[in-house]
Symmetry: C2
Subunit: 453 residues, 2 copies
């Protein structure tokens, strides 16, 4: 054991690169620097990288957390120039070139901010408790708990009004995440849960998408978005467009068009960038994204880069680069290439150019939409394509095989294998025999018996 290498890198004479965030952007930056003559520290306050595109499948009980999350430490374990720290960044001192964390301060020669985004309640943070969003593993298991518990409470409910409210699920936001989670809840209600209950008709659960804009899935063309809307409606999902949410509470959603009584609300509407821009006091968009230069550096702050959801950068066509996984990966790889060139004195690459590969969204069992440059798919073929792409992009063969296997199994059996309601651990009530007696008894029995396992 030695003192932290991260604090010693100055002595190696190699450039110190600090990456904040182990999402797609941060990881691709780290991997891209594997062969560069740098010492690199990746800081994240979670110990795992989360594959967000499949997080909704954890929230709807199809996959387990460990299927879509991997320890960052494990991913970079073989990369000898990389150190991983589980720590929380509290600020950046750009004058001293130091990242301040809860635990320590880490000097940098080059700093990459890949801190991602979180849900935005458009200034109404008090809605958060009633309408959780879906960004982290903990969010997914909490939403899973709420969905499954709603059915359980409905089964126990004695009046019809309460039962109806408990069996109503509102998804706020009609982007891919909103569509995917709404479809998955309907699928689960219709196929998996329908036979499980005795007092309620689980298959009749209402699922609504509430979207403020004129149509759902604005990233897709009219035909595909229209197809998705029809497919959702065939599954029994109600799609409300041009319906602005003006309130969320434990009993339902208030919209400009009236109130919807609902036991479960899921927020899939807006995102806001993490506070990297605040740390830097750099020029920001309203949503908190740092306006970066065409090489993704932060103007006026030497040797600092922002990538992924943290960064605001325009494409050739003057539209912003979207906040999706492929964009974050491309930015991470670009900055790695740029820094490799800088530290080696090689010619620098040209400006960052985003290449949009396409858009995918799954709707439900055997239904999805795919919009690539020259290809449009709907229905089963789109669904299979979607599945293949997501399995391909998962990290690690173990997870690829496990996820593919679970999907196949669930497809064939209509089951969902992770229907667990788990609570935070808390003390349980138990018998309290007199202490003396119990000690005696324990002595006598504990060696011979084993807990109910």
């Amino acid at each position: 054991m030695g003192a932290g290498k991260s604090r010693q890198t100055g002595t190696s004479g190699r450039a110190k690169v600090v990456i904040v965030g182990g999402g797609f952007g941060g990881l691709y930056a780290a991997r891209g620097l594997a062969d560069a003559p740098v010492d690199l520290v990746l800081i994240d306050r979670q110990n795992h990288h989360c594959f967000q595109p499949l997080l909704y499948q954890v929230a709807t009980a199809a996959l387990s957390p460990a299927d879509v999350a991997w320890p960052i430490r494990g991913i970079l374990s073989d990369q000898k120039n990389a150190t991983v720290l589980l720590d929380t960044v509290t600020g950046i001192d750009t004058a001293r070139r130091v990242v301040e964390t809860a635990e320590t301060s880490i000097p940098y020669d080059h700093l990459i901010l890949a801190t991602g985004s979180t849900h935005s309640y458009f200034g109404n943070d008090d809605w958060a408790e009633a309408a959780p969003g879906l960004k982290r593993i903990e969010d997914a298991t909490e939403i899973r708990r709420r969905i499954l518990l709603a059915f359980e409470k409905a089964e126990l409910a004695r009046d019809e009004e309460r039962r109806r409210r408990l069996l109503t699920f509102v998804v706020v936001g009609g982007g891919p995440t909103g569509v995917e989670i709404a479809g998955a809840i309907r699928d689960m209600a219709r196929h998996t849960l329908a036979a499980d209950f005795r007092n309620i008709d689980a298959g009749a659960a209402r699922v609504l998408i509430v979207e403020a804009g004129p149509r759902i899935l604005p990233a897709f063309n009219d035909t595909l978005a229209g197809y998705a809307k029809k497919a959702l409606e065939r599954m029994g999902v109600e799609v409300l467009t041009e319906t602005k949410v003006i309130g969320c509470d434990a009993g339902g959603v208030d919209t400009e068009g009236g109130r919807i009584e609902a036991g479960t609300i899921i927020w899939a509407a807006g995102v806001v960038a993490s506070p990297a821009g605040v740390w830097l006091q750099a020029p920001m968009q309203k949503n908190g994204q740092v306006r970066v230069a065409e090489d993704l550096s932060v103007p006026g702050v030497p040797d600092v880069y922002a990538i992924g959801d943290t960064a605001f950068v325009l494409q050739q066509d003057e539209k912003p680069v979207p906040g999706i996984a492929p964009a974050a990966k491309q930015m991470g790889s670009y900055v790695a290439k740029l820094l490799s060139a800088r530290v080696s004195g090689r010619p620098l690459p040209g400006p960052f150019v985003y290449r949009h590969r396409g858009d995918l969204a799954t709707i439900g069992r055997k239904s999805a939409i795919v919009q690539l440059r020259r290809m449009r798919l709907t229905g089963v073929s789109a669904w299979l394509f979607w599945g293949a792409v997501h399995v391909f992009f998962l990290i690690g063969t173990r997870n690829r095989v496990a996820v593919a296997y679970k999907w196949m199994w669930d497809y064939l059996t209509l089951q969902r294998g992770a229907r667990l309601i788990t609570e935070p651990a808390q003390p349980r009530t138990r018998v309290e025999p007199a202490e003396e007696e119990r000690r005696e008894e324990e002595k006598a029995t504990r060696l011979g018996t084993r807990s109910a396992d």
Copy 2:
């Protein structure tokens, strides 16, 4: 949707059987009554049945919660005479023949109590926070969080003494659970984590088993227990016998032989029965077990049965039936047979006879001990036998294949696929640790700013 069937069963003219608890005993009782002319309600406060023999593998990051837990509703979904309620029993009115729950009251003609057991701290319940036990899924993910966080904190720690404390893991209790978890922590430290850290030597983590009795694994014969002790020691686990624990706190364990500074303590020592006996005001053992008659009925309380860890019953040889899964299953099946006969007017079976099949315990990678009636196995053959038996007894083909696949994969790669540190959904009450500990904890897990995933 109709009113609760469970409250209407009186009108069907069929006997109403209520089962409290969805563990091995309760489930086997329910399944055994599938063809009986009864209406049956199974109540559990968890929505899932947990396969406790593999819970330690969740705690040590080898398996996911959903690999060892299944929704009770799903298991009984096809059993048309069964209704499942997610509810908490608060008491039993034996005069009115009603089970009182948090939500309702449920009348019974026959009542089966299969409420299991929980860990016992020998009257020192204040040790619970520092030394969690392993009974529920939530316990397992909490222990997993503590183990993984200990390595993370050690990686950040600046003084050697603190680092040593964080890399010391104490398991209290030398029964099968204690042995299995201690072995798995050493395996994880040596094989999985050794390459992941830069500042610490994860492979050097100390793991101790502290056992009050003269030797570990008292259910096994001397030869096998001695083999297990040697195997543990070869793996680097320190085994302390005749060492009584007199205190547990956030910084370590006090024993009669002195203090052991440790960052993580796991309780695998004693169990105490759930409060079924208190509900009934029936004669109990000092550990809370209800003393049942030879047909598992509760003396003096008509039509009430206690099974599994809740029940105290002697074998032919005057030793108590052990608190293990096979015993709970046998009692569940027995009571189901008895009640089927009773409601059909068929001759009743004779007294309950427990058949002990044997004892198994895994020690670590390629090492286990097996003691059957005519067979003793150690080493690799015992390990393979142990694995085959556990896969066989898992519920559902999906889980059998998934678990077998994960084991094979982890065996070949030395990885563990579920190394996630996740937060409880809500703040938990805890014993206030020393100031330094508390600051450390906050740093590692703060929720203030946006997570960088």
